[in-house]
């Protein structure tokens, strides 16, 4: 009976989403305050019923209710509690339910701060988010209902996909969805601004913290996914250019561009139409990502649940949402005038270059992701586009971007001073280059590691400019503790995020250039040597987990005769699905990861063992953590908290009474 309550709550949430869409949007168009007032309570009610529905599904997982088809497909009586809780989003139906729940959470967050916004604008924003929710709830109710029962009730469930039975999977999907769905706020703010005809600096000011918040979650989500793939898929790579990864990376790229173009829109009232288009594009790419992952048009290592029937539904929905918003854009944007002028060397021009590079990079990723589909659709055969394409196209676009990233914050708005900038660039660039070369020499890496040298140089360049930028601002205030406290958090946030990119460059550069791996046949007692470390296979023994049996190997790693790590990789067989899984083991460190995976048993009691040496690979995720932290600092900037009372907006030219 409780299951049916969950279903019923979902239906009620759907009806409330309809109310949340129709009344506020109609009320805003007809200027009826009573209708617009529906927005906030409807948003809260929707969240309440969605949480109830989600709670019921969780209850079904926890209580092993295998009469629910979805539970039977994704759980098992031996599944540990933590994976029963996360198994709720382990399949298609539940993950879409999580998607809507998070959307509803963001809507309520907007509704809670809606008093800062003009009434009609707030009503429109909440109404647009309601419309997105209507689409997804209809999708769940009509094609992907997680509450469908089955009779006869199976004795036991089919277990959760073993790939997802991992601590990394506990937090990765919610974070990623927080990011994906978070961009719906920027989308709704842009659409509402287009609908209402107010597209000004105030709109940009409201959009900025929401965009940065979504970007922060997406950054964390992508980083966690990358880390999960690194150790769970057992290939030792940290980025595969897989369609599903690309699906999350494209909104990240355009979202990053949006953050920067909104800065111009807010500070200088420029790039308005462009910022709107980026806001629409970023959320559209999030929806496209959902479509690509859920419809099965692309094969991917991550595609866990695909179904063409559902794909058509999402495609129609995608067309309505994105097509509708772009039509609105084509209708309204021509009237937007950005009346700013700026010199060829100015903060604006550098941010414009930043935007062009990021959008071109996103387009390149989109092209590579969809190219196999296009070729197949035109009947030209089946092919796949791999890392060689992406690395060839992507890396050259990123290098100039990072050069600009160092310079940008130092250049003045409107008109930068070229001579001074060139002097600073020399004073930072030359020592950075020297330091990079020194690193190569000190660590005995030779001169010919060009890409590594460039990565290190750009990383030091970025760090140097950030330190210089902070020092310059502090210097004007005499470096006192008060001066530290007076600088806005947004300023620190920006430099922290840029420094995160630098750490990422160091990690990615070093690991790409110096990683080593070796696949060897090892019998117990034998050892192999890799990058100065001796990996000795001590023994292999059977163990039993809650829902799997496994062979575990004990590998002792030593360096110069001293033991540094004990690795216990496993070869698991999940008993219910009869699925074999390689559980890698790694010893993480700031300077290097040591990583071992157990392959297949070989004749004579030996095993095939794969060992990796991954220098500084942690820096990649440390860098992303720093980027996210920078985002967090920026959204807690006090000017957003103080923005409440100072609502000033000017109507868009020619839009009054339109």
């Amino acid at each position: 009976m409780i299951i049916e309550w969950g279903h019923f709550a979902l239906v009620l949430a759907f009806l409330l989403a309809l109310c949340q869409t129709v009344f506020p949007l109609w009320g805003a168009a007809r200027n009826r305050p009573a209708w617009m007032a529906v927005a906030v309570p409807a948003a809260w009610g929707q969240l309440l019923f969605l949480a109830l529905s989600y709670g019921v599904l969780t209850y079904a997982f926890v209580s092993h209710d295998f009469s629910v088809l979805y539970v039977a497909q994704n759980s098992n009586s031996t599944l540990p509690l933590i994976y029963r809780l996360t198994g709720v989003w382990g399949g298609h139906e539940g993950s879409i339910l999580l998607w809507v729940l998070i959307l509803s959470g963001w809507t309520v967050a907007v509704a809670a701060s809606a008093r800062q916004l003009p009434t009609a604008y707030a009503a429109r924003v909440i109404g647009v988010m309601g419309a997105i929710s209507v689409g997804f709830l209809a999708f769940i109710l009509f094609t992907s209902n997680p509450f469908v029962r089955q009779f006869p009730v199976p004795v036991d469930g089919q277990d959760l996909n073993p790939l997802l039975q991992d601590p990394g999977m506990v937090i990765h999907p919610p974070m990623l969805y927080m990011g994906y769905v978070g961009f719906s706020v920027a989308f709704a703010l842009a659409v509402a601004a287009l609908l209402g005809g107010r597209l000004d600096a105030t709109w940009a000011r409201w959009s900025r913290p929401w965009t940065t918040a979504a970007w922060m979650f997406l950054t964390v989500g992508i980083a966690l996914g990358s880390h999960w793939a690194y150790y769970e898929l057992g290939w030792g790579g940290w980025w595969f250019w897989d369609p599903v990864e690309n699906a999350s990376f494209m909104p990240w790229l355009t979202g990053t561009a949006l953050i920067h173009s909104l800065a111009v829109t807010e500070k200088r009232d420029g790039f308005k139409a462009w910022s709107v288009l980026l806001a629409l594009t970023t959320f559209s790419l999030s929806l496209l990502g959902t479509f690509l992952v859920r419809s099965g048009v692309l094969t991917s290592v991550h595609a866990f649940a695909t179904d063409p029937g559902r794909g058509l539904f999402i495609l129609v929905f995608l067309t309505l949402v994105v097509g509708g918003s772009l039509m609105l854009y084509a209708w309204r944007a021509p009237r937007v005038r950005s009346l700013i002028t700026f010199a060829p060397l100015s903060r604006e021009s550098l941010l414009l270059a930043n935007n062009v590079l990021l959008v071109v990079a996103a387009a390149a990723v989109l092209l590579g992701t969809l190219y196999p589909l296009a070729v197949d659709a035109l009947g030209l055969g089946k092919l796949s586009v791999g890392p060689p394409y992406f690395n060839t196209v992507f890396v050259p676009l990123m290098l100039p971007l990072i050069v600009l990233m160092g310079l940008g914050p130092l250049v003045a708005w409107r008109q930068g001073r070229g001579g001074e900038l060139a002097r600073v660039a020399l004073r930072i660039g030359l020592p950075a280059l020297g330091l990079a070369l020194l690193c190569l020499v000190v660590f005995g890496l030779g001169w010919r590691r060009y890409l590594l040298a460039v990565s290190l140089w750009l990383a030091f360049w970025t760090l140097g400019f950030s330190l210089y930028g902070i020092g310059q601002r502090l210097g004007r205030r005499g470096f006192s503790p008060r001066a530290w406290a007076q600088l806005p958090r947004g300023f620190y946030g920006m430099h922290l995020a840029h420094a995160g990119i630098a750490l990422f460059m160091i990690g990615a550069g070093v690991v790409s250039a110096l990683e080593a791996e070796r696949v060897v046949r090892l019998a117990p007692g034998e050892s192999t040597e890799l990058a100065g470390y001796a990996f000795r296979l001590e023994s292999v023994y059977p163990i039993t987990g809650p829902n799997y049996t496994a062979e575990e190997a004990l590998i002792v790693v030593s360096r110069a005769g001293r033991e540094v790590a004990r690795l216990t990789p496993q070869k698991r067989l999940y008993t219910v699905r009869r699925q074999a899984m390689t559980q890698t083991a790694f010893d993480a460190g700031m300077t290097r990861d040591l990583f071992a995976a157990l392959g297949d048993p070989l004749p004579g009691g030996a095993w095939s063992v794969r060992v990796h040496y991954k220098p500084m690979v942690r820096w990649i995720w440390m860098g992303t953590a720093l980027m996210a932290l920078g985002g967090l600092l920026a959204i807690t900037d006090r000017r957003y908290r103080l923005a409440t009372a100072r609502v000033r907006s000017t109507p868009m030219k020619g839009a009054v009474g339109a």
């Binding site: 089919q158 139409a273 288009l277 629409l280 594009t281 559209s284 496209l288 479509f291 419809s295 099965g296 048009v297 692309l298 094969t299 063409p308 794909g311 058509l312 495609l315 995608l318 067309t319 994105v322 097509g323 772009l326 039509m327 854009y329 084509a330 944007a333 021509p334 969809l370 589909l373 296009a374 197949d376 659709a377 089946k382 699905r577 009869r578």
Partner: protein, 180 residues
């Protein structure tokens, strides 16, 4: 005005591409075996390990079906009632290939769900499965009187697949092969 319509135009092109893409199946791997003779094998039967069955036994009727299954395969349970009802309705000879399975568990599975198979070959280590290009369990092969593989379905049979693909093919084969 025109330049503001560009994003919309680009998006509509993308939608058209995705719509065509939906009709394609990236999992549809063309099987090189279709149209070729069934790969040779000699395997013990599940009912009596002393008795052998070979690919010759598949070329005795106008149409013979070979279904690859295993007791550990969840989708086989799902497929089982559809497959059983269909072969019973059409009176088709169905041979099973018990793939990488424990024979005791396979017998228990048949005892529990029912046995629609005329005969079952035991492919304990999956060698024959490799020759037959088994991609995932379950799979169903349609073989004609000449021992040629005419069709291969990957994944559980559904009523839709039977009505749209298999029934017309089997009608044609039975008409052609009814009088050899």
């Amino acid at each position: 005005m025109m330049r503001f319509l560009l994003p919309l135009g680009a998006f509509l092109l993308l939608v058209a591409l995705l719509y065509v893409g939906l009709g394609l199946n990236p999992r549809e791997v063309p099987s090189p075996l279709v149209g070729r003779p069934a790969p040779a094998f000699v395997l013990p039967t599940l009912a009596d390990p002393e008795r052998r069955i070979s690919e010759q036994d598949l070329a005795v009727a106008p149409v013979t079906l070979l279904n690859v299954w295993a007791s550990w395969c969840a989708a086989c349970v799902e497929e089982h009632p559809v497959l059983s009802a269909w072969v019973k309705r059409r009176g088709l000879p169905l041979v099973g290939l018990n793939y990488k399975d424990d024979s005791e568990q396979a017998r228990a599975w048949l005892a529990r769900f029912g046995n629609p198979f005329r005969d079952i070959a035991v492919d304990r280590d999956g060698r024959v499965g490799i020759d037959w290009g088994v991609y995932g369990v379950p799979e169903t092969f349609v073989i004609d009187r000449a021992g040629i593989i005419r069709y291969k379905h990957i994944g559980p049979l559904t009523p839709q697949v039977i009505v749209e693909k298999l029934d017309p093919l089997i009608d044609a084969l039975q008409q052609a092969g009814g009088a050899p």
